[in-house]
Symmetry: C2
Subunit: 476 residues, 2 copies
Amino acid sequence: MDAKQFVTQIADINDNFAQWYTDVVLKTELVDYGPVKGTMVIRPYGYAIWENIQKDLDRRFKETGVKNAYFPMLIPESYLKKEAEHVEGFAPEVAMVTKAGGEELAEPLVIRPTSETIICQMYAKWLKSYRDLPILINQWANVMRWEKTTRPFLRTSEFLWQEGHTVHATEEEAMEETMKMLNVYKSFAEETLAIPVFTGRKTEKEKFAGAKATFGMEAMMLDGKSLQAGTSHYLGQNFAKAFDMKFLDKDSVLKYGYSTSWGVSTRLIGAIIMAHGDQRGLVLPPRVAPIQVIIVPVAAHKGGVIEKAKEIESKLLAKGVRAEVDTRDMSPGWKFNEWEMKGVPVRIEIGPRDIENNVAMIMRRDTLEKSSLSLDNIDTAIIDLLDEVQVGLFNKSKKNRDARVVEADSLDGILKGVEGKNFVKAGWCGCRECEEKVKEMAAATSRVMCDEEGVPEKCAICGKPAKHKVIFARAY
Amino acid sequence: MDAKQFVTQIADINDNFAQWYTDVVLKTELVDYGPVKGTMVIRPYGYAIWENIQKDLDRRFKETGVKNAYFPMLIPESYLKKEAEHVEGFAPEVAMVTKAGGEELAEPLVIRPTSETIICQMYAKWLKSYRDLPILINQWANVMRWEKTTRPFLRTSEFLWQEGHTVHATEEEAMEETMKMLNVYKSFAEETLAIPVFTGRKTEKEKFAGAKATFGMEAMMLDGKSLQAGTSHYLGQNFAKAFDMKFLDKDSVLKYGYSTSWGVSTRLIGAIIMAHGDQRGLVLPPRVAPIQVIIVPVAAHKGGVIEKAKEIESKLLAKGVRAEVDTRDMSPGWKFNEWEMKGVPVRIEIGPRDIENNVAMIMRRDTLEKSSLSLDNIDTAIIDLLDEVQVGLFNKSKKNRDARVVEADSLDGILKGVEGKNFVKAGWCGCRECEEKVKEMAAATSRVMCDEEGVPEKCAICGKPAKHKVIFARAY
């Protein structure tokens, strides 16, 4: 199979980005469709990316004092109803267990779409005194939201995520936590996924059902659409009051706690694909790539080639690099194509002539540049190169994104902006009608507010005085 | 609160082991009851043990070439019915989703009680050629079995586990994998949990629903009862045939694959508690203890004490030891009791006089022995001590267990043996009636067969020629 064949298996990235995405996720064996509509199987190559995401994020959470726990997946339906906005937001998309152990259940149980309710119920039981605060707990879990239109990683009925749930004595501390975790997400997205993000507060219309305020991070995909890559919610006392979550404060007064919740999901894998990919397939940032370096022996039957490849592999593994030799009985060209499609950041080619000259050929997946490296110190040179690729990917993404952020002062300007695959910054009066008009006319939504940049004088939609500066975009 | 009070909070370990267990798991905050009957909340201290179990086991799996993946939790009810024995075993205890997204589902969905069916369905799609074999995949997931009688960690409607599912070209390879993973479990239990286990084949009556053969590992708890701590199943072509899982072999003939599955769960936490605990509470093996070393400052208000405690903590953390200083505003005695109850393997006490003498007081949780250690090289001394505790716990458990394994050649002997809190080895003719008689008369079940020790002449129950040597025990 030659390079052309491989490429033609994947739809044109410019002509049909949606089909390109589907082709890439299936052909690279990141994912497959599950038998139940809207479900996905995360295959080993996709799951290994998730494991790398988990390891990195988990470390960042723990550095802030958060600990992991696990709460039951089944929630009594009545819990969902305790917070009015929450039930309104989630009731339409829950899956319900009505039978178990051969019997009808007295009360239907909901498979968690998110766990604020059951977690606050437990916190209310545990929380007694200000000495118990803050409570800083996260869980890695599966959740279920019955969606009508689904796509692997981006929107599936079941997905994997983490959800942090914290409780604090004061509004200030809870708000501080909300922002702290938003910033953890931002650093993670930029440093580890190499994806630049905008963070900011969401409008009332776009906020989490039950939150006082939602803060989101938004990433631009190659097609100019925005992907909500993570959210951090300030819940105020909404859930504390619904679940009677009180503590005896220093002043001997019983008070409701202030809570937060924050989460990211397997959606992030979709973000990586759509932020960095190209016509050949995936381009994975080294920090999350399951295989960082693929070593392809050339003329592998010749004496010493496999041995040298294995020697390089050992050196790299010893330095903590995820390296692998491809010893399969296929042509080097076939392997080159496959690993390019699978987005492995760096390829090493090693053949008899290279060994003679004490070098190896190197190919960077991000730029497709080839070069030659001395076999002496190849391990440290590769580590440097991986760092260079990581930073290079971020810079390239940022440059591309920044070139596609425009300003508009009219509805028409917003429309033209999003039609041109841009994020559009515009003044907004703060009313829901104007947001809905943008949705109706431009099929775009407000992503986050960026008032700190300076609020324009007028609302781009109605012309009344603006209260906020908003990023509008089409979104996943 | 003095030592006595702490102790009296926990039921007597000899008089009422079941209550002792419940007291310990709740009071040490390993776990709490969830709102839905039979569910549990795994609290941070308990979940941290699970994380340590996961990390260790996951490494062992990956060393054998296994990769992780994730399969959907919801399984069409019809899948369960494809393997006759499987559905018979699991149908009575499944939880069913009948409504989702506001609508009745056309076909009810089962929350996985185990995932052979959905995984084999996917494997059947992926598997084409002998080149695709072996398939070696594991998943870490939650599962649901609607049990009538539940106890935290030991038997809950939802629990966390890992389930490995492999496919091989031949019976021999599949059987080899089955035994390999059984041995991974045994090494893990003995080296990491410090729990000696018997491994062996289960009888037909006790095997997994749908397996050709089940191999189990059984651990003796302090009350002489056995806990099934892990199982590895050889599934033959049962699921391959049910799900049409075929491959084109080297000889160009389409053949069914041979599969295996193997799993351990959060039940292992129950095993740790009941294998090592004592009247004061938990005794955790260092390799899974969330905190390996607790440092308690004495006369903490005196200058330099907290600083020295933190200095020791830093030294230990730098060497990879999970150490923590307890700076809370409580008396040292209160802290000693709490950390003893929580099973922290090693306690360091440091006060002004110790600092003067350049020493610290050390307490080993397993033996309750106190000694004094020089502050020079305290880090390496503690690392050695942790190893000593780890090995000491295993040796103690093994000695205790081995002293309680007896042989019997009559039903009465079996009854007396299990009444005396022993494992009883006895000859068995191989018929189900005899097994059922033991259950009825002695409330004991066959745990594993140990024919390799030599099969006795006669069945201890019916007196006919024995075919196997079996370990009988009361079990969790």
